[in-house]
C-alpha cells in the first residue's frame, strides 16, 4: 500500500487550487486578490509538508513516482518561487476580475513542476511537464488587453508545442529501443540504445525538449520575447521556477536513465553550455530593457548550470543543484524588483511607455532605498560576488570543472562572469549614482515582503552556505547511484 501522505504537498495544493476556483465565483472583482492569501497559505503549508519529508526515500504508484532527496529539493525550489510570486501577485492582481483564475493557474503550474520533480517514469514526467506548461501559457497571456502579453503567450505556446513534440519523439525512440518508460528500467536496458545511432537522435531530441524550458541556445529564442511581454511576476515564475523543471527532468532522464549514453550528451551539454552562456551574456550587454536584459541573463545562467551535465562529477552535480536554488531566489527577486519599478513608473504617469526601461532605474536608491539595495544584492549575486548565494554556487560549480580537468570550460565560464558584471554593475550605477527624477515612494507591502524574503534567501545561502551545500550534496547523491 503506497503511502499517499507522501504526496500531501501536491494534494494540498490541488485542493487549495480547486477551492480558489470555486470561491472566485463568490467574490467581486475588487477583492478577489484576497484569494492570493489563500494560495499563499496553501503554498506555505505545502512547503512545510515538503520540508517535513526531507529524508524520505520511497516510490509510489508502481514505481512511476519517487520521493527522494532530489525531488524534495526541487519541490522546495518550486514552492519557494511560487510562494514569492504569489505574495507579490496579491498586489499585482488587485482589482482584476480574473484574479481567481490567476492563482488557480499559478498553483496548477506549481503542481505540474512538482510532479516532474518526482517523476520516475517518462510518461509521468511528460504529463507533469504539460500541466506546468499549459498553465504558464495561459499565465503569460494573462493581460488580455495588452498585445505584448498576447504575443508573448502565443510565441511561448508555439515553440512550447514544438518542443513538446520533439520531446515526445525522443521518448518514443527511447521506449522503442528499451521497451520501457520507467527511468530505472531504461537505465537497465540502455545497452541497445547506446550502441545504436538512434540513441544519439533520442538524446538530441530530449535535449531540445528540455532545453526549451531551460532556455539553452538555440532553443531559447522564445525566452526574451516571452519574459519581456509577460506580466513581470509571471516572468519571475518562468525564469526562476519553470526553467528549473527542465533541469530536474534532465537530471533524471540523462544522468539516471541514459547514463550509458553519457559520452553523447556530455559533449552536447558542454557545447551548449559554452554557446548559451556566451550568447546570453553578450546580448544582454546591449539591452536597454531591464526585463529583457534579465531574460538574457537568465539564458546565460542556464549555460552555467548546464556545466553540471558536462562535468558530471558529484561535486559538479552538487554545484548545479545548489545553483538552481540560488538562482531561484536571485532571479525571482530581480524580476520582482522590476515589477515594483514598473508599479512606481505607472503611479508616476499612468500612460508611461517602456516601463521596464533602464532609465526608470535612475536614482532608485533615493526613491526606494530598500528595493535598490535588494536589486544591488540580486545582481551582484547573479554575477557571482560574495557573500551571496550566487558566489557560493558558482564557486562549487567552477571548481568542479577545474577539478575534473576541464580547465578551458572553467576559463570560459569565469570570463563570462566577468563580462556579465558589465551589465549588472550598470544597473547599480543607474540606481546609486544617477540623479532621481521623482520623490520617495514606499513599496506596496506584498512586493516588499516578497523582495525581503528573496533577499534573505540570497544572503543566508551566501553567508552560511554549509547546510545548503550539504543538502544539495544529498540531492546529488540520488543521481550518482
Amino acid at each position: 500500500m503506497a503511502n499517499y501522505m507522501l504526496l500531501a504537498p501536491e494534494l494540498v495544493l490541488t485542493l487549495v487550487a480547486l477551492a480558489i476556483m470555486l470561491a472566485g465565483l463568490f467574490f467581486g472583482p475588487n477583492n478577489k486578490n484576497i484569494l492570493g492569501y489563500v494560495a499563499g497559505v496553501g503554498l506555505f503549508a505545502a512547503l512545510c509538508l515538503t520540508i517535513g519529508g526531507l529524508t524520505v526515500n520511497e516510490t509510489l504508484f508502481y514505481g512511476t513516482m519517487t520521493i527522494d532527496a532530489l525531488s524534495q529539493f526541487f519541490k522546495i525550489v518550486f514552492i519557494s518561487v511560487s510562494l514569492l510570486v504569489t505574495i507579490a501577485s496579491i498586489k499585482y492582481t488587485e482589482g482584476n476580475k480574473n484574479a481567481d483564475e490567476f492563482f488557480t493557474l499559478l498553483l496548477f503550474s506549481t503542481i505540474g513542476m512538482m510532479v516532474v520533480a518526482s517523476a520516475n517514469d517518462l510518461i509521468t514526467l511528460f504529463v507533469g511537464f504539460e500541466l506546468a506548461s499549459l498553465s504558464t501559457y495561459a499565465l503569460a497571456g494573462f493581460e488580455k488587453n495588452n498585445p505584448k502579453s498576447m504575443e508573448a503567450a502565443l510565441k511561448y505556446f508555439i515553440i512550447g508545442s514544438l518542443s513538446s513534440a520533439l520531446m515526445l519523439f525522443g521518448i518514443s525512440f527511447v521506449y522503442g529501443m528499451t521497451g520501457t518508460t520507467s527511468i530505472p528500467g531504461i537505465a537497465e536496458n540502455a545497452g541497445a540504445l547506446a550502441s545504436s545511432p538512434i540513441g544519439l537522435i533520442a538524446v538530441v531530441m530530449l535535449i531540445a525538449g528540455f532545453g526549451f524550458k531551460m532556455a539553452l541556445v538555440p532553443f531559447h529564442m522564445w525566452a526574451p520575447d516571452t519574459y519581456q511581454g509577460a506580466p513581470t511576476v509571471i516572468s519571475a515564475l518562468l525564469a526562476a521556477g519553470s526553467k528549473k523543471m527542465g533541469f530536474v527532468a534532465a537530471f533524471r532522464v540523462f544522468v539516471v536513465a541514459l547514463a550509458l549514453l553519457s559520452p553523447n550528451w556530455q559533449t552536447a551539454f558542454a557545447i551548449l553550455a559554452v554557446i548559451t552562456m556566451t550568447l546570453g551574456n553578450v546580448v544582454a550587454i546591449s539591452q536597454t530593457s531591464v526585463k529583457r536584459m534579465l531574460a538574457y541573463s537568465s539564458v546565460a545562467q542556464a549555460g552555467y548550470i548546464a556545466i553540471a551535465f558536462a562535468v558530471m562529477t558529484p561535486m559538479a552535480l552538487t554545484g548545479g543543484v545548489l545553483y538552481t536554488l540560488s538562482h531561484a531566489f536571485m532571479k525571482t527577486g530581480a524580476f520582482l524588483v522590476v515589477a515594483v519599478v514598473g508599479y512606481m513608473v505607472v503611479s508616476d504617469n499612468k500612460n508611461a511607455k517602456d516601463i521596464d526601461h533602464l532609465d526608470n532605474f535612475k536614482g532608485l536608491a533615493k526613491r526606494m532605498p530598500l528595493t535598490a539595495f535588494a536589486m544591488m544584492v540580486f545582481v551582484f549575486a547573479l554575477s557571482g560576488i560574495p557573500p551571496t548565494a550566487g558566489y557560493m554556487s558558482k564557486f562549487i560549480l567552477f571548481s568542479s570543472t577545474i577539478e575534473s580537468g576541464l580547465v578551458w570550460l572553467a576559463v570560459i565560464a569565469i570570463l563570462n562572469s566577468a563580462l556579465s558584471l558589465y551589465y549588472y554593475a550598470r544597473i547599480v550605477k543607474y540606481m546609486y549614482f544617477l540623479p532621481a527624477s521623482g520623490g520617495k515612494i514606499s513599496e506596496p507591502k506584498p512586493y516588499a515582503v516578497a523582495i525581503i524574503l528573496a533577499l534573505a534567501g540570497v544572503l543566508i545561502i551566501g553567508i552560511w552556505p554549509e547546510p545548503f551545500v550539504y543538502w544539495a550534496m544529498e540531492a546529488a547523491k540520488v543521481l550518482m547511484v
Partner: protein, 670 residues
C-alpha cells in the same frame, strides 16, 4: 547559569550599543551617550567577575566556540591574559566614555562620536576575546577602521582628515604583514598535513597553532642566502603587524598626528584600545615567539630603540598632546622590550610586559584626560601659551602630577612603596639587566635606562611648563566639571596604587596563561627548539642596579626643574634654528620629510606615473578593444532575434539537426 555563559556579551553589548546609538542616538539625551556607557559598564562588570573567578582557578579558562564553515570557527577564549586585558579595556573605556559626556557636550556630532567609540571598544574586545588568529585579524581590521573614523572625526578640518588617512595607511603596512603572516602560517599547516586538513579541527585556533610549533620550526626556507625557519618568518610578520598598530619604529609616524581627533579619542587610542592591540598580539602568540628566538631579539631591539628614539622627540615638542603621543610610543617600546626578553625569562616576559601595559593604560589615560581638561579650559594645546594653570585647576594639577610620577616611575626599591609605573617599568629594566648578565648583551639595558632618564625629563618639563609659573597669555580658565574630574580622580587612585596591590599576584596569574584546559604549552620544550636556556632562579640584582632607574628618574626631574622652573639655563640659546640637534629632534628626525617627500612623492608617485601610463595606454587599450568588440558583437547578434516566431521554430529544428551532425562527428573522432 554561571557568569562565564555570558562572556559572549562582552563584545556584543558595545556592538549593539553602536547600532542603536548610530541610528537613533540623535534623538536621545546627550546623543544617546548613555547607551554605550551602560553597555560598556555591563561588559566591564562581566569581565571583572570572570577575572575574579579565573583568579581563583586560572586553569579553568573560558572557551566557547561555534562552527563557522569548513575548518574555521568563531570562538571566545578568556584566559588570564585575555581576562586582565578585558577588565582594563572595559574599565578605562568606561571612564573615558563618562568623561566624554562632559568633554563632547557641545559637539553637534556627538551621536556619531559615541556610536563610533562604542564600536571601537567592541572591536578591541573582539581582538582580545578571539580564540583563533583569523577572527582576531577581522576584529583587528575593525579597530583600524574605527581609528580612521575617530581620528578624522572632525573631518571638516583638513589636518584631521590627513591625520586619519595617515593613520590608516601606516597601520595598513603592518596589517598587510600580519595578513601575510597568517597566510604563511596557513600554508605551513597545509604542508604539515600534506593537504589533508583533519576534519573537525580548527587549525587556526591558538591551541592548534601552538601544537604545531615544533613542525613549523622544523620547516626551513632560504631567503637571501639565509636559512630561516617558517616559524621565524611567521612571528616576524606577526610582529610587523604589531609594529604598525603599536606605533613602533619605523611605523610610529601616525601616532603623533592621531592627536587631531578629540582628546578623548586620543586617550582611548593610547590607553585602552588600538595601540595595545599590537603588544597583545605578540603576547597572545608568545609561545610561537618563544620557539623563534631570532624574532624575539628583533622584538627586543625594535622595542628598546623605539623607547629611546621616541623619548628624545618628546623633549622638544611644544604641543601638550604631542608630548604625550611620543610618550606613548616610548612606553609601548618598553612593553615590546619586555616581551623580547622571553628567551631568558620565559613566560615571565608576558607578565612583566602586560603589567606595564595595564599600568600604562591607567596613567596614560589619566595624562590624556588631564591634558584634555586643560585644553578644554584654556583653549590651546601649545604649552608656550600656558603656565600657571595649576592655580586655577587644582584637581587636574594633582591628578596630572600623580600620573607623571607614575610615568617617570617614582618609588623606593625593595619596599612596596611606589607608583604603579615604578613597579612595572623597573621590572622591565631589571629583566633587561638579567638578559644582559646572561647573554653579555647590554644594549637593551642601555636603551631602557637612557629612555627612563629622558622620560622623566620630558614629563616634568610638561608639568612645569603647563602648571607652574605665571600665565604667559591671557586665558580665562576654570576647573572642569565634576563629570570630568571624577574619572580623573578614579584613574589617579589606580595609577597610584594598582602596582602595589597587584604586583606579585599579577605575574603569577599571567605566567600560567598558556597552561590550562584549552592550551598547553611546554616551555622547556620551546626553549629546546629555540636552542637557548631559561634562567630559572635569578639571583638578586646589585643594589645599584635596583636603584638606578629611580636615580635617573629623579635626575630627569632635577634637570627639568632647573631648566624650566629655575631657568638656570636660558632655553632660547638652545632652542634656536641654528642648533642642529634641536633642529633634528624638533623635525622628528626628518622622518616626515623622508616618508612624504622622498618615499611618497618622489618614488611612489614616480612609479605610479609609469604604472598609469602602462595602464592607460596599453592595458586599457586592450580592454577597451575587447569590450567595444563584445558590445559590437552583441548588437549584431541581437538582430538575429527577429521577433518572428517562424524563425524561432526554424532555429529549434536547425539546432537539433546541427547538434546531431556535430555529435556524430565528435563521437566518431573519439
Amino acid at each position: 547559569m554561571a557568569i562565564e555563559d555570558f562572556a559572549f556579551l562582552i563584545p556584543l553589548l558595545p556592538a549593539l550599543a553602536f547600532v542603536v546609538t548610530f541610528f537613533f542616538g540623535k534623538k536621545m539625551y546627550s546623543g544617546g551617550a548613555l547607551i554605550p556607557i551602560g553597555a560598556i559598564a555591563l561588559s566591564c562588570i562581566i569581565s571583572i567577575l570572570i577575572t575574579i573567578n579565573l583568579l581563583q582557578n586560572p586553569e579553568e579558562v573560558v572557551h566557547q566556540s561555534i562552527h563557522w564553515f569548513a575548518i574555521l570557527n568563531l570562538g571566545i577564549l578568556i584566559d588570564p591574559l585575555a581576562a586582565v586585558m578585558l577588565s582594563m579595556v572595559t574599565f578605562v573605556s568606561l571612564l573615558i566614555h563618562i568623561y566624554a559626556l562632559g568633554y563632547m557636550s557641545h559637539d553637534p556630532g556627538k551621536a556619531r562620536y559615541f556610536a563610533e567609540t562604542a564600536l571601537f571598544t567592541a572591536a578591541m574586545l573582539g581582538v582580545i576575546l578571539s580564540d583563533n588568529i583569523l577572527q582576531l585579524f577581522i576584529c583587528w581590521e575593525l579597530v583600524g577602521l574605527c581609528s580612521y573614523l575617530l581620528i578624522g572625526f572632525w573631518y571638516q578640518k583638513p589636518s584631521a582628515a590627513a591625520a586619519a588617512k595617515k593613520a590608516f595607511l601606516t597601520t595598513r603596512v603592518g596589517d598587510v604583514m600580519f595578513l601575510t603572516g597568517i597566510i604563511v602560517l596557513f600554508s605551513g599547516i597545509f604542508k604539515i598535513y600534506n593537504g589533508n586538513l583533519p576534519e573537525g579541527v580548527y587549525v587556526l585556533q591558538f591551541s592548534e597553532m601552538f601544537n604545531l610549533i615544533p613542525q613549523l620550526s622544523a620547516m626551513h626556507t632560504t631567503i637571501l642566502g639565509f636559512e630561516v625557519s617558517q616559524l621565524t618568518i611567521i612571528t616576524l610578520l606577526f610582529f610587523g603587524g604589531a609594529v604598525g598598530k603599536s606605533g613602533q619604529f619605523p611605523l610610529h609616524v601616525w601616532l603623533p598626528d592621531a592627536m587631531e581627533g578629540p582628546t578623548t579619542v586620543s586617550a582611548l587610542i593610547h590607553a585602552a584600545t588600538m595601540v595595545t592591540a599590537g603588544v597583545y598580539l605578540v603576547a597572545r602568540t608568545f609561545p610561537m615567539f618563544m620557539g623563534a628566538p631570532d624574532a624575539l631579539i628583533v622584538v627586543a631591539y625594535v622595542g628598546g630603540f623605539t623607547a629611546l628614539f621616541a623619548s628624545t622627540m618628546g623633549i622638544v615638542m611644544n604641543d601638550i598632546k604631542r608630548v604625550l603621543a611620543f610618550s606613548t610610543i616610548s612606553q609601548l617600546g618598553y612593553m615590546m622590550l619586555g616581551l623580547g626578553m622571553g628567551a631568558v625569562v620565559g613566560m615571565e616576559a608576558v607578565g612583566v610586559s602586560m603589567f606595564h601595559l595595564i599600568n600604562h593604560a591607567f596613567f596614560k589615560a589619566l595624562l590624556f584626560l588631564c591634558a584634555g581638561s586643560v585644553i578644554h579650559s584654556v583653549g590651546t594645546q601649545d604649552m608656550r601659551q600656558m603656565g600657571g594653570v595649576g592655580k586655577i585647576m587644582p584637581i587636574t594639577f594633582i591628578t596630572m602630577l600623580v600620573a607623571s610620577l607614575a610615568l617617570a616611575g617614582f618609588g623606593i626599591p625593595g619596599t612596596s612603596i611606589g607608583t604603579s609605573g615604578f613597579f612595572s617599568k623597573d621590572a622591565i629594566i631589571e629583566t633587561t639587566y638579567l638578559f644582559a648578565e646572561h647573554t653579555g648583551n647590554y644594549i637593551p639595558y642601555i636603551f631602557g635606562i637612557v629612555a627612563a632618564l629622558l622620560t622623566s625629563t620630558y614629563i616634568f618639563r610638561l608639568l612645569f611648563m603647563t602648571f607652574t609659573g605665571k600665565p604667559r597669555t591671557n586665558y580665562g580658565g576654570h576647573e572642569s566639571p565634576s563629570v570630568m574630574t571624577v574619572p580623573l580622580s578614579i584613574l589617579a587612585v589606580f595609577a597610584l596604587i594598582f602596582g602595589v596591590l597587584t604586583q606579585t599576584k599579577f605575574y603569577h596569574f599571567l605566567e600560567v596563561t598558556f597552561e590550562n584546559s584549552f592550551v598547553h604549552v611546554n616551555i622547556e620544550h620551546l626553549a629546546e627548539l629555540g636552542n637557548y636556556d631559561l634562567v630559572h632562579n635569578p639571583g638578586h640584582e646589585p643594589l645599584f642596579i635596583l636603584w638606578l632607574p629611580v636615580i635617573v628618574g629623579v635626575a630627569g626631574l632635577v634637570i627639568s626643574y632647573l631648566i624650566y622652573y629655575k631657568k638656570v639655563v636660558d632655553m632660547s640659546t638652545i632652542v634656536s634654528r641654528n642648533n642642529p640637534v634641536y633642529k633634528l629632534l624638533y623635525n622628528r628626525y626628518y622622518q616626515h620629510q623622508i616618508f612624504i617627500e622622498l618615499i611618497a612623492l618622489k618614488i611612489t608617485y614616480g612609479l605610479s606615473l609609469i604604472g598609469e601610463f602602462i595602464d592607460r595606454k596599453i592595458i586599457d587599450g586592450i580592454i577597451d578593444g575587447i569590450s567595444d568588440g563584445t558590445i559590437a558583437i552583441g548588437e549584431t547578434i541581437r538582430k538575429v532575434q527577429t521577433g518572428v516566431v517562424q524563425s524561432y521554430a526554424t532555429a529549434v529544428i536547425a539546432g537539433v539537426g546541427l547538434l546531431i551532425i556535430l555529435l556524430k562527428l565528435i563521437v566518431e573522432v573519439q
